[in-house]
Amino acid sequence: MELFQNLALGFGIALTLTTLSLAIIGCILGTIIGALPGLGPSNGVAILIPLAFTLELDATQALVLMTSVYYGAMYGGRISSILLNIPGDEPAMMTTLDGYPMAKKGRAGDALVLSGVSSFVGAFLATIGLMLLAPILARVAFYFGPAEYFALYLLAFCTLGGIGAENQAKSAIAVCLGLGISMIGVDNSTGMTRFTGGNLHLYDGVDFLVAIVGLFAVTEIFVFIESRGKDSAIGVKLGKISIPIKDILATKWTMLRATTVGFIAGVLPGAGASLGSFLAYMSEKSLAKEKKTFGTGDIRGVAAPEAGNNAAAGGALVPMLTLGVPGSGTTAVLLALLMTLNITPGPLLFNERPEVVWGLIATLLIANFVLLILNVPLVKVFTKILQVPASFLLPGVAMVSFVGIYSLSGSYFDLLLMIGFGVLGFTLRKLKIPAVPVILGILLGGHMEVSLRRAMVLSNGDWTYLFNSYISVGLWIAAFIGFIAPIFLRSYLKKPTPIG
């Protein structure tokens, strides 16, 4: 009953003209961003956040806009995977495996529609999952004290590299870099400045939006210049768009299984959509009687990863909203948005700001239908976007990033810092060190330290207090396993390489 009341509240907010328009704009922008090769949801949301502030939206509206961009980008990512064999974003990588071969067989239109419908099934059911699971998890989170929160942050950092992480030391280094940066500035407990080197600009600390836009958008500019924008040309002819009802019905169970796998992967901290699509594809392949057709344009190989990654995108919102711990790179960026809006995600959010949570959930339910329309009958319009040359697109991304950050602070120091993060991001990417843990370190470092300090105040400096409850012990064990497991699982979870 409570659920329906909350949903009624949510739809009351979502169905206002402004919110609905923002959701539609967000979906369109997101699909465009997702479709463009190289510009994934994290980049898209990162670039647009500073601009969202200039619109002076309230918290719900800003969150609705950005989450619609996020969902849209997750849908749109498949377009270049299928037509160009280049994933629009990392989670769409698995879609290239069967999507591109299917397109080469002259069934590009069918592949796009089938993957669009799978995306809808995954995202829609995951939003319902979010609606049911989030309030329960929020209730559990009420039992969290500082020791539990400290263990939770530790768990997020330990599992952040994900099961697919190639080198645990590198993921951990990225976390340390982020935590180190988060400590720059005035220490709130004592009022002392730390690690500022006497630079006045750093007294307020490093703005995480500067770091995010630098690490995502500016890095992308360098990466594109290095690759000289080779990726911008239409690969396969699209042909006529029709709805392959037979294929959709044949893959209905595939979509449902992939949605379940993807949603669970999304809820796990640090795992995210890439793991969701990967596990969905691999589990479908292992269930199939005839495995040889996978990789040659099998319809199940198109439906599974798309349902999986979109379900994971919805699943990743669960820990972000209820615990304040993001499940993926993009939700880390969304967390930054919430924190800038002075909203602290966590169990209290559900009680104190129900309009934000339920307004968001209701909008997401509506956004999925908008995205289904954009991605099935209107998909031809978005394929035109792939023809925009990189030599036009990337300078545009650069300028939007600069103006976005400049409009926030008006300080050239922040712009220089952003460029510095861009160089750091490029170096990290070359060395295969993930950038998301750096962001999460910057975002959550302050909270993690505060939790530890509060725990020490409560226990009068007794470190055993950190293992005082079953929840915290469970979280410590999960963190340990999460850090160690990838070392053993690596050989089993080797990613298949896309065909050339």
Partner: protein, 145 residues
Amino acid sequence: MSDRIFGSTLTILALTFFVSATQLESPFFADPLGPKNFPFIVSGAALICSITMIIKPDKDPLWPNVKTLIKLFTALIVLILYAFSLKTFGFLLPTALASAALSYLIQPSIFKSSATGLILSLSLFTIFKFGLGLSLFPFPKFLLG
């Protein structure tokens, strides 16, 4: 080798971080943990990881060749100059020049990059100024008086 260089740089960074944390003075009213201990823990973890990176490096990545490195460096300079010029020279000119330069670095065609610079500068100014209401100056302040 690249991992070793980066690992060594991070080792030095972690040690510097550790040393500067030791020099923080805990005020008499500080909490039991104080401002120093969390930095100690993080720099300790960073030290272990960076040493692991030195001892067990991955295969070297494919670094860009000299020509591409020069391009990347040029892009960096363009971005830095853009950051400095935005306030002094207004939006239109620096944006046109910077986006034309970046476009040229991706696809070396003078005509296309000039067109990119011009179109981006004018269209973004229109969107930012009139669509989003940002307070951007189109021309240098000294020209506007």
